[in-house]
């Protein structure tokens, strides 16, 4: 079943990716062209069209690297170096992945807790909810360095402050989705539980939770992506030692666009993996709940 859906995806994904790659090469010419022309003019050369195209696709620090440049760099820093060395994308991905994961687990947990509180206590619903929303409008990158600084001041460094930023970004989608989900049971089902004089925990576990699961998984997909963004953002002010964020930042200090893109690809792969994991978990629960095929 899983294999099947995998195969049915391969063809469309590769076709679309191929289209993307072609468009990408085109963009690379458009974006790298002007500077290449400047270079050639300064060097007093006048290359032919083909030569010009090749040059736009092989600049050392292009505005938009060509796909094969990114692929080469990605290959080089994934497979030709020791996985645990500072130059390996695997190592950096792992660093980011671990704080993403920790942050996501805490974020999802916190989001669920908040949603449960909001659904059960009118006072929380009415006083907390608006401020949770406000909390999300605070620009995280402005706070992230301060958070890291404050934690560092009390001697907490490493994974924890990063995971905290991830938590901060990921709890919100979960909280919003879960509030919606926990309130989604039909009136008649709630009435039924009322006739049993079911306690709140019983209504919660036997009705609200199962009814909310589709919402939970949809919002967890968003949350896990947000968590990754949080982890990467949080890696910036930590002195850019390790992690995909560090790679991006280092790349951008030295305009190493090819490295930036390779790191972006690594980050995206990590994201796809995480979202796919959440999706698979969602499908498994759905099936366990007797889900009707669409």
């Amino acid at each position: 079943m899983l294999m099947d859906s995998f195969r049915s995806k391969i063809v469309p994904v590769t076709t679309l990716l191929a289209l993307l790659v072609v468009a990408w090469y085109g963009f690379a010419v458009v974006l790298n062209g002007p500077f290449q022309r400047d270079l050639d003019r300064r060097a007093g050369e006048a290359p032919g069209t083909v030569e010009f195209l090749m040059r736009t696709w092989s600049q050392p620090k292009p505005t938009l690297p060509a796909p094969h440049q990114v692929a080469q760099n990605f290959y080089k820093s994934t497979f030709t170096v020791k996985p645990w060395s500072n130059r390996s994308l695997i190592y950096h991905s792992w660093v980011t992945l671990s704080s993403t994961f920790v942050g996501f687990v805490f974020g999802a947990g916190l989001g669920i807790l908040i949603a449960v509180g909001i659904v059960h206590f009118a006072s929380l619903d009415r006083s907390l909810m608006p401020w949770i929303i406000t909390s999300q409008t605070i620009p995280i990158l402005a706070i992230a360095p301060m958070v890291v600084v404050v934690f560092a001041a009390v001697g907490i460094t490493g994974l924890f402050p990063k995971a905290l930023i991830s938590t901060y970004l990921s709890f919100f989608p979960v909280a919003v989705g879960m509030v919606k989900g926990l309130r989604s049971p039909e009136t008649m089902h709630l009435d039924l539980m009322r006739t049993y004089n079911a306690t709140r925990p019983q209504v919660f576990w036997k009705l609200r939770v199962p009814a909310s699961l589709p919402f939970l998984f949809a919002s967890m997909k968003v949350a896990v992506a947000a968590s990754l963004v949080g982890a990467i953002v949080a890696e910036l002010p930590t002195g850019a030692v390790a992690g995909i964020g560090a790679r991006l930042l280092n790349g951008s200090y030295y305009s190493q666009t090819i490295e930036i893109w390779a790191a972006l690809v690594a980050g995206s792969l990590v994201a796809v993996m995480l979202v796919a994991l959440v999706g698979a978990a969602g499908r498994i629960t759905e099936r366990a709940m007797g889900g009707r095929p669409a």
């Binding site: 995806k9 006072s123 006083s127 608006p130 929303i133 968003v222 991006l248 930042l249 790191a263």
Partner: protein, 383 residues
């Protein structure tokens, strides 16, 4: 739902006080003990008065239980009166607060909490009354976040560069309103609005396209997942390269950030309609588009609004973060990063406060629209 049957006031004194009141009274007792143990004339002023006021209000509220409005009023006055006493007493004694100060503060906070609890159980008959309460409750809550922040920062003497007190931030907002207004115009009204509209629309259209063509759905969703996680930090410099350093590049970042949540939620929402309803449309040989517009989109609305809400906050964050890269010398993100470097931390927080206000208003507008559009959904109809 389960409002307890009204208890007549006369039976009250013998019933147990609510836990917030009980704790507040405990805090007062502890505070009095500690304060009398300390050396008089040192540390913040007004502690005796504040402790007394908390005790009075707590006792009064206990006696008035069962008459919610009176109880709430006395709690409100007691809590905020004590807070005012404490805050004015700390002036000139920054960093010298002792346990009794925090106990008095905690007591006042508990009273405010109780006040909010009492108020949230009220269901005024009139619409305007409900609106008032709906506003008052979060405002009290928010006010206490600020009061606690102010009191702790000043009581503990936390360095200004780490965290300025709200009063300093408010002063800065008042003093720099012209700069703030220019920044809001640049970031919110140009970058955020454009990016949000384009991003949400693009996500929506992509979701419809993915829905219409199975091929696209299979191909686009995994790629969409990838694009979603494209960390803005990496995209922002690229967008600056592509779209220049003015607001269009920020709008582009916002587009990228808002696209994915919209795509995912819409795709999920489009499959949210019931089987029987879809069968019904089949019996009408309803084409793809009529089914979409008359059944699947309305049924998807709760999900779509979910995305619109999440995006309303993401958009602002995205635009501000994008301004950390190349910008003209105006904009909220520019100001934040620049003023951190200049050690004007109060200005940083002023921008953050304005951003939070703008974001909350934005979110509120979307939430209102949601209520109007998905009035039929059990979560709005009440459940």
């Amino acid at each position: 739902m389960s409002a307890s049957p009204a208890i007549s006031p006369s039976t009250l004194p013998r019933s147990l006080p609510p836990w917030q009141i009980a704790l507040a009274l405990l805090a007062v007792v502890a505070g009095l003990a500690l304060q009398s143990g300390g050396v008089a004339g040192e540390g913040p002023a007004n502690i005796w008065a504040a402790l007394g006021l908390v005790a009075l209000a707590a006792a009064g509220a206990w006696a008035l239980a069962g008459r919610p409005l009176a109880e709430a009023a006395i709690l409100f006055l007691g809590a905020h009166g004590a807070a005012w006493l404490l805050l004015s007493g700390i002036a000139g004694h920054e960093g010298q607060a002792r346990a009794s100060f925090y106990l008095a503060l905690g007591g006042a906070w508990l009273l405010a909490w109780r006040c909010v609890t009492v108020l949230s159980l009220e269901k005024p008959a009139s619409l305007s009354g409900r609106r008032m309460l709906g506003l008052l409750i979060p405002v009290i809550f928010g006010a206490w976040v600020l009061i606690l922040w102010e009191a702790v920062v000043r009581g503990a003497g936390i360095p200004f560069l780490l965290l300025p007190p709200p009063s300093a931030i408010a002063a800065r907002i008042a003093a720099s309103s012209a700069v703030l207004a220019a920044d809001v115009r640049q970031t919110v009204f140009k970058a955020v609005v454009a990016g949000y509209v384009i991003g949400c629309a693009a996500g929506f259209v992509a979701a419809i396209a993915a829905d219409r063509f199975v091929f696209l759905r299979r191909g686009l969703l995994p790629i969409g997942n990838m694009a979603a996680a494209l960390p803005i930090i990496g995209v922002a410099p690229i967008m600056v390269m592509w779209f220049g350093f003015d607001w269009p590049s920020k709008a582009a970042v916002v587009v990228i950030m808002t696209f994915f949540p919209m795509l995912v939620n819409t795709v999920v929402g489009l499959s949210a309609s019931g089987h029987m309803e879809r069968d019904l449309m089949r019996t009408y040989a309803s084409g793809y588009w009529p089914t979409l517009f008359k059944l699947r989109l309305p049924a998807a609305m709760p999900f779509i609004f979910n995305a619109l809400k999440i995006n309303s906050t993401l958009a602002l964050i995205g635009a501000i973060v994008a301004e950390f890269f190349g910008t003209p010398v105006v904009g909220m993100g520019f100001r934040i990063s620049t003023e951190v470097g200049r050690m004007n931390i109060d200005m940083v927080w002023a921008e953050i406060a304005v951003a939070a206000l703008a974001g909350t208003l934005f979110y509120g507008a979307v939430a209102l629209a949601e209520r109007a559009v998905t009035f039929w959904h059990p979560s709005i109809r009440g459940g």
